[in-house]
Symmetry: none
Subunit: 225 residues, 2 copies
DNA sequence: CGCAAAAGTGAACATACTGTGAAATATCTA
DNA sequence: TAGATATTTCACAGTATGTTCACTTTTGCG
């Protein structure tokens, strides 16, 4: 799943956030100050940074600016109640969200989810929606699928179905939901239509059909990390 | 049902929208400008906001940003044809949908339905959909259960039953209630069917069967913090 | 301690579900 | 409009699953 960098000089805060984040299934890396964070960002690809404003060596505000020079990673800032409030929302540095200390870890996690989702959809709209699962490449914005490097030709519905499955990977999708989301709310046909298209999609995916898992009594799921 | 806030400076527009919304069974509150809307949002829990962009005192764009600071309520924006179009879709403020004036109230209501549904499923998917009890992991949205790190394969009813128990952990559940909620109101079978499924579920959970507690003369309960 | 009611259990049987191929429709394209 | 392509429906077969039921075990109580 997503890889999150937590930057705070207080060990206890890092610990609490890590705990909650890992419970949600995120991979977590810690940094104790802004300088460390900048260096870690040069070596790793994080999906999100949670960063305190007030830190020794290099404060969150400056670290964010520094990181943004090279990478466009979403950032959630933590800060004491009245500290720097205006600067943060000047959008000057493009902070994605802002949580006031003391914060509820649950609320923080809710915001993490929102920001991650937003950045994902934003990426899709700017042409950055490429997924790769072994030899299966799914380019949603380019509306192309490659199986072992070769372009797979599919029918429109196959694309739509696959893209919806991939966008919602690891989420159980009922036939009804698929019909509603992929076919549209105004489709009044048979449930089993989904099955037929899953069948054809599986054939198109060849060996990678394994990613499409049947959930008996329920529907289907695209299962991959 | 859902509680909707309508924000527009034109009384007639509010009136029309209110009429249609109430016809659909929604509860409706009105505000005449952005500032009112922000204040109302601090005091109430709305499920959806329909807001005009152009308003005195505080425009819809700013009001939305302000409200989003504290609450993640879906917003549908109303606006004149070319006004602010880009800003709205800049994802900066995360508007959920966008209707151009003059609009058909019917179309607006259709969008309301879609947005409400989306936010509901999103909440389910991003919400507490993953539970962990020692070595027992329950991923409701992925419809997966792990026992000591290994995926447990269960029958549909076992999943449904477990998920219902977990979602209502520490709550005593009678057989009748389980039948009604997990099997459906149209099931007219034997009470003891529940027992059999509890048996199979316990076997699937191995050592973690201990979480499913029998309440003699009553039903069952998933007991965990 | 012994009884009755409640809960656990294993097996049999009927039912429901999914994968699939093929036919029937619908939609697109030249 | 014809021909091609795509979508939907349908029926069949095999298998997984749900339900019932009889029997055993446990529990609470006088």
């Amino acid at each position: 799943m997503a890889h999150i960098l937590i930057v705070d000089d207080e060990v206890n805060i890092r610990k609490v956030v890590r705990e909650y984040a890992e419970f949600e299934g995120y991979e977590v890396t810690e940094a104790g100050n802004g300088m460390e964070a900048v260096n870690l960002c040069h070596e790793n690809d994080f999906d999100l940074i949670i960063m305190d404003v007030m830190m020794p060596r290099l404060d969150g505000y400056s670290a964010c600016k520094e990181i943004r020079k090279t990478k466009q990673i979403p950032v959630i800032m933590l800060s004491a109640r009245d500290e720097e409030y205006d600067k943060l929302f000047g959008f000057e540095i493009g902070v994605d969200d802002y949580v006031v200390k003391p914060f509820s870890p649950k609320e923080l996690m809710a915001r993490v989810k929102v920001v991650l989702k937003r950045s994902q959809t934003a990426a899709e709209n700017t042409g950055q929606a490429r997924y790769k699962f072994e030899g299966l490449e799914v380019d949603i914005s380019g509306r192309e699928v490659y199986v072992n490097g070769e372009k797979a030709s599919m029918t429109p519905k196959e694309y739509d179905l696959l893209f919806y499955l991939v966008r919602n990977k690891n989420i159980a999708l009922s036939r009804d939901r698929l019909l509603e989301e992929v076919w549209g709310y105004d489709f009044f046909g048979d449930d089993r239509t989904v099955d037929t298209h899953i069948k054809m999609l599986r054939n198109s995916l060849g060996e990678y059909r394994k990613y499409i898992v049947t959930l008996r009594g329920m529907g289907y799921k695209f299962e991959a990390n």
